[in-house]
Symmetry: C2
Subunit: 369 residues, 2 copies
Amino acid sequence: MHFSSTKEELLNAIQVVQRAVSPRNPLPILSGIKFETGEGSVTISATDLELGISCSFPAEISEPGKTVLPARVITELARRFPNVKIFFKSDPLNGSVIIQYGKSEASINGYPVEEFPEFTIPADNTKFTISGEILKEVISQVIFATARDENRPLYTGILFEINNGTANIVATDTHRLAWRKILLDGIGDLDINLIIPGKTLNELTRVAGLSDRLDITVAENQVIFETKNISLVSRLIGGNFPNYRQVIPGDYISKTRLKTRDLIEASERASLLTSEGAPIIKISIENSILVVSVNTEAGRMREEMSVYHEGEGLQFAFNARYLNDALKAIGTDEVVMEFTGPLSPVIIKPVEEMEYLSLLLPVRLREES
Amino acid sequence: MHFSSTKEELLNAIQVVQRAVSPRNPLPILSGIKFETGEGSVTISATDLELGISCSFPAEISEPGKTVLPARVITELARRFPNVKIFFKSDPLNGSVIIQYGKSEASINGYPVEEFPEFTIPADNTKFTISGEILKEVISQVIFATARDENRPLYTGILFEINNGTANIVATDTHRLAWRKILLDGIGDLDINLIIPGKTLNELTRVAGLSDRLDITVAENQVIFETKNISLVSRLIGGNFPNYRQVIPGDYISKTRLKTRDLIEASERASLLTSEGAPIIKISIENSILVVSVNTEAGRMREEMSVYHEGEGLQFAFNARYLNDALKAIGTDEVVMEFTGPLSPVIIKPVEEMEYLSLLLPVRLREES
């Protein structure tokens, strides 16, 4: 192997793939980045076996080949290279890679390239494409509702229920749920349910540009997202996602429209007086005034804001962090909250017509509070 | 107590004093910030008993008084207040403080104000002043050489040896030493040695502005730094600082002038191939070429740079982190390194005439390397 490239091209690609490196994995090869020459380009890859990322960058190839270099060293080194042409050359004597930059030279000991896990895409697969901009928007709208708890893997994923030319995209940790529906062009009669790990989609939004059109390939238990130069492979989560349609209430008893930022700020301030583990705040609405209040050992707080309210007055308690996650994900100046009963989920959605909402279960209020 | 101020004035002052709060201290009162009204101003204070910081800010006082509020709550709350006038008022019923902002109101439970440690300045003290700009420069030039290890308290401090109208300022962790000498105006025949905790001086550079002239008061075992509105009190470290004059070599055998950034970058790259605990790199100089090299299990590296060298060729090994700390503290484009013997300290100093240098002990090279 012998190639040259610029510091910038090399560093950009390394910063993309190093997000899939698992430095603490017991398999040392997984702390490496694989380099493989192509036609006028080099493709580098990293994987933690759940998620794999590859990225290609332009390079002048003098001699084809491949190698695996330790991710930490090559990443930190690439950051600190001077702005000159960088040459990579396998050392036939000992399998290390000689890197030349200016008048300087490093020789890095690598890993046996044959130990690096291969990405293979089963021939029996399904393909469709989606706009990177829309996919990023959708992910940012639902990802907050996924569970962090790896003991319940199903809830760490996001459901993509694709049929009839649309996709319903759903996340829930059983305390809250976020749902978005989009149209998908040119998918014909594709009918498929995918549960994609939240971590995969989070990494996807970091590495793929907004302007990219993403090619999606689905095989038995994996999904591949591809842009012009980046490819991201992830396992899929097995199991049956809960029936979200059953959970979304149809009719509301009362309904409030309010300024998103006002409620976020009030509930952030109020939660400062609560315990960090359970930041429970009270919300009551009466005569178009919404009151956020807490009363704890640390003190009391009461904030008022004007809202547009239709229906009876009401009182709820919420986990302030969950409420704010939902409010921030909506991203519009105003939101609508629909109330369906004293202990039923509250619906939070944008004022604008959009097939998007999130559900939040209220917390049961104790008598004394 | 009853006063009002703006969010900005309040938040600025809180951000200054909260650096002295010790949230995990077993004494709960030390997790609080004390508020005390003055003439058209409020002074707030925090202390961890080693370091105390006070800051005054303009306020309209309706009723004098004092209180202690939990630092975490009041700091986070101040950050999140809307941009309106903020009113603070003691609640005579239960000793809490009612904070009003716009149409909202919080009531924060405080701590008994009489439990808050008093700053008292002994009448028998010594005063002098120093430019904030110069003090900050001096601190940034020597602080890297202090020890982090609290088991050797003497070396966590910086010596200010003041006499004959000058101050010698010295820090050492016994592996390296940094020394700077400055003139002090108007100190008459003041003759005093202070060992000030590095942590105190670090906080001082964060809270005091460059344009401030600092009034320094020294009492038996404490030192107070004062600007117009900020006061910082610290204990002094007892003991006898090592005799730094004995350690600084007088004459050199050979001398090299080089570009600071070149050597920093080369040794940062080289240390990527070393173990993090002991980033030992080799430096050899021959015929006006300086070579940085390492040879470890991870690989090899060799970088060359042109230097101006007077005297014999030589070879040294250094801890790369220590070397870079010294090079970065100098802050000039070029540095001079003076060599005094194979295992004697190397002197690192700016090219410009300045009474500033640092010493670095080389690492003993093993035969095989």
